[in-house]
């Protein structure tokens, strides 16, 4: 591989608190691929959800300010959290298309941003800038025999006309990454269904059937682990299992795709903040080198 490539990076609030493992494992794995994720200066909350209200401009002030600040440092901004990715990618496009609204937002922010920052997900960097074949060559500890269900959820893929990451009905980007790491990608019906998102915050009654359905779907197709790219999806998929009364053997641990990437690249589980439950699931399935590197 060539010299270290550097990308401007937006972590977002969850990655600084409950999802530190996502941030840590992504940075460590990127480094193993000669890729630097350089945190942008002065980032703030993206607003977590992209507003559908076209006349309530105040909700667009935050993302616009982030993008304006990012532009001072570069034209590409990389995100990890599916929520931030959705908000920032769509906000950047909206800023470019709707100049009249953007004039008002800029006046409020006392900053100037009219689009131009391309917001990319780390998955896009891995696929388009490095390539899964190159990643496969860099794998030191293949996850042979590990059946992983990729869970996409909503925000990575939809709305398609703005996100365009992958096919909204039959995505394959995470599966292709998993296969390049030597793992077995499990195809299951619910991988693009909604986990309940923020509805799980107020009342678990509403989100639980949705997220339980996803876990059951993955489990019945043979997945022993779920790989996600969103802290909120991870939370919902874990909480629904903690609330259920079924035996421990049924528990399907949820990891961030970056943790599996790092493991396959030969990093230690501690560097990736994998917990004992996740490691147990990985060790009990993965047949090869993994046992050696992770001891």
């Amino acid at each position: 591989m060539e010299e270290m490539r550097s990308y401007l990076y937006f972590p977002g609030c969850s990655l600084r608190t409950v999802a530190k493992d996502f941030d840590t494992s992504a940075k460590a794995s990127a480094r193993a691929l000669d890729l630097e994720l350089r945190e942008m200066q002065g980032w703030l909350c993206c607003g977590a959800v992209f507003t559908n209200l076209t006349e309530n401009l105040i909700t667009q002030a935050g993302p616009s300010r982030i993008l304006g600040r990012a532009q001072a440092e570069g034209n590409t901004l990389v995100t990890l959290c599916a929520g931030c990715y959705n908000v920032l990618r769509r906000s950047s496009q909206r800023a470019e298309l709707n100049r009249i609204n953007q004039d008002q937002i800029n006046a409020f922010n006392e900053e100037r941003y009219y689009g131009g920052v391309t917001v990319l997900h780390l998955l896009e960097i891995l696929r388009d800038k490095i390539g899964f074949e190159e990643i496969a060559k860099a794998v030191k500890a293949p996850l042979q025999g590990l059946p992983v269900g990729a869970y996409y959820g909503c925000l990575l893929l939809r709305p398609f006309r703005e996100m365009r990451l992958d096919d909204p009905h039959r995505p394959s980007i995470i599966e292709k990454l998993l296969m390049s790491l030597g793992a077995t990608a499990i195809d299951y019906p619910s991988r693009t269904e909604c986990c309940g998102s923020y509805l799980g915050v107020g009342s678990s009654e509403i989100a639980k059937p949705l997220s339980s359905g996803i876990v059951q779907s993955a489990r019945s197709c043979g997945a022993k682990l779920l790989a996600v790219s969103c802290p909120l999806c991870k939370y919902n998929l874990e909480v629904c299992q903690n609330l259920s009364t079924s035996a421990d053997t049924d528990f399907v641990p949820v990891v961030y795709f970056t943790q599996l990437l790092g493991l396959a690249l030969g990093l230690q589980p501690e560097q990736l903040e994998l917990n004992s439950q996740q490691l147990h699931a990985i060790r009990s399935c993965a047949r090869t080198a993994l046992g050696k590197v992770s001891q």
Partner: protein, 87 residues
């Protein structure tokens, strides 16, 4: 959902105010699935957000959290308060 997405739209076409008694717009998690599938290209999540906002601008609403867990990601809290409460 007491009204399915296509029924919500039919109520709106017919101008039936009873649509505001429905819980469906409050159960929409803005996952854009309907929009992706809709053969008529209707942005159902946008319609649901509009319906919620008409209500939110009339009366203030609070979000009741059953049991607060410190494990809830910040993005979840911010989203829930932004989508489901008056601000």
């Amino acid at each position: 959902m007491d009204l399915l997405p296509h029924q919500v739209l039919r109520y709106l076409q017919l101008g039936l105010e009873e649509v505001f008694d429905s819980k469906s717009p409050w159960l929409c998690a803005t996952c854009f699935s309907c929009e992706t599938e809709c053969p008529r290209g209707i942005d159902v999540s946008k319609v649901c957000e509009a319906l919620r906002n008409i209500e939110l601008r009339k009366d203030s609403r609070e979000l009741k959290i059953d049991e607060f867990s410190p494990q809830i990601p910040q993005q979840g809290l911010v989203s829930a308060f932004r989508k489901l409460t008056s601000y």
